[in-house]
């Protein structure tokens, strides 16, 4: 039977008293300096919201017990031996675990409110060459995005051990930040978000703390 992976943990992690998928008991598969928390996998990836929340409850309980590199939902391996093989480079996993030790992730969404994108350069009306107009619009948009990054992401990132910012892909999307912060800093980040949300031209939401989903890949920022 294949195994369902919740995340990579310290090998001495005490398993929480929380059921795995379909009530399957949690198991710790040790591989040298690290381990993985798994349970027997169902034949198909469960797709109900309740299943995803049940998975999240296990990961959050693990986060309370120690550092966790959460696995992407749906991660399955053929058997315990495959889990051990995938954790072979123990040093790499251990340093990734150390990077999230004592830390949690906060999620921030931010956008300029309505049309109040401050000092957006007006498109030059006399610009008739289509290629140039397009490039001018692109530059203006990138400038608006850049100022959102400076205004919201930059000060938040200063409070974080690591930070990732994803610019809006479309006009109606917010920029999205992920911040890996010491537990003691969570309140400060939330206070800063509240202060930013008070500003009339910005909408800002902050959720979490979450397990460090955006900072779980060894050697990668996200």
């Amino acid at each position: 039977m294949s195994v369902w992976v919740y995340g990579v943990v310290d090998p001495g992690t005490r398993l929480p008293d929380v059921p795995g998928l379909d009530g399957a008991p949690l198991r710790l598969v040790r591989a040298g300096d690290v381990g993985a928390v798994v349970c027997d996998a169902p034949a198909e990836v469960p797709q109900e919201l309740a299943d995803l929340l049940a998975h999240e409850r296990v990961v959050e309980a693990l986060t309370e017990a120690g550092p966790v590199l959460p696995a992407r939902y749906g991660s399955r391996l053929p058997d315990d031996a495959a889990v051990v093989r995938s954790l072979e480079d123990g040093t790499r996993w251990l340093s990734a675990l150390d990077a999230v030790r004592g830390r949690v992730e906060l999620a921030v969404r931010a956008a300029w409110r309505g049309e109040q994108t401050p000092s957006t350069p007006a498109p030059a009306p006399e610009e008739t060459r289509p290629g140039h107009a397009f490039l001018a619009r692109l530059a203006a948009r990138s400038d608006v995005q850049g100022r959102l990054r400076d205004r919201v992401h930059a000060p938040l990132a200063e409070l974080a051990a690591a930070a990732v910012w994803r610019e809006a892909r479309g006009r109606d999307e917010p920029g999205r930040g992920s911040y890996l912060v010491d537990r003691a800093e969570v309140g400060h980040v939330q206070e800063l978000c509240s202060a930013l949300a008070e500003e009339p031209e910005l909408t800002v939401t902050c959720t979490g703390p979450w397990p460090p989903y955006s900072f779980s890949t060894p050697g990668g920022g996200s």
Binding site: V5, G7, V8, A36, E44, V45, Q47, E48, L49, L52, L53, H55, E56, R57, E60, L69, P70, A71, R72, Y73, G74, S75, R76, L77, P78, A82, V83, R85, S86, L87, E105, A107, R109, A111, D172, E173, P174, R176, S178, T203, T205, T207, G208, P209, W210, P211, Y213, S214, S216, T217, P218, S222
Partner: protein, 68 residues
């Protein structure tokens, strides 16, 4: 997954932030063996149906880890 900043309640944003992370974040162990991308796409499709009607779900706050 998108969220409307002005109409979404805080709980909805928390749910979307969580789903973003569960389905697009996290470490992938030995991706070639692990993940059937088709499986994940199915989850996405299924959840986008949930998200579009999320305000009718009335999820209790306690069911949303990380909210608040």
């Amino acid at each position: 997954v998108k969220v409307d900043q002005d109409t979404a309640a805080p709980g909805d944003v928390a749910l979307v932030d969580l789903l973003d992370r569960l389905l697009a974040g996290g470490v992938v162990l030995m991706a070639d063996v692990v993940l059937s991308l088709a499986d994940i796409d199915l989850v996405r499709v299924h959840l986008s149906a949930i998200i579009s009607s999320v305000d009718t779900l009335h999820l209790p706050e306690s069911q949303l880890p990380g909210s608040g």
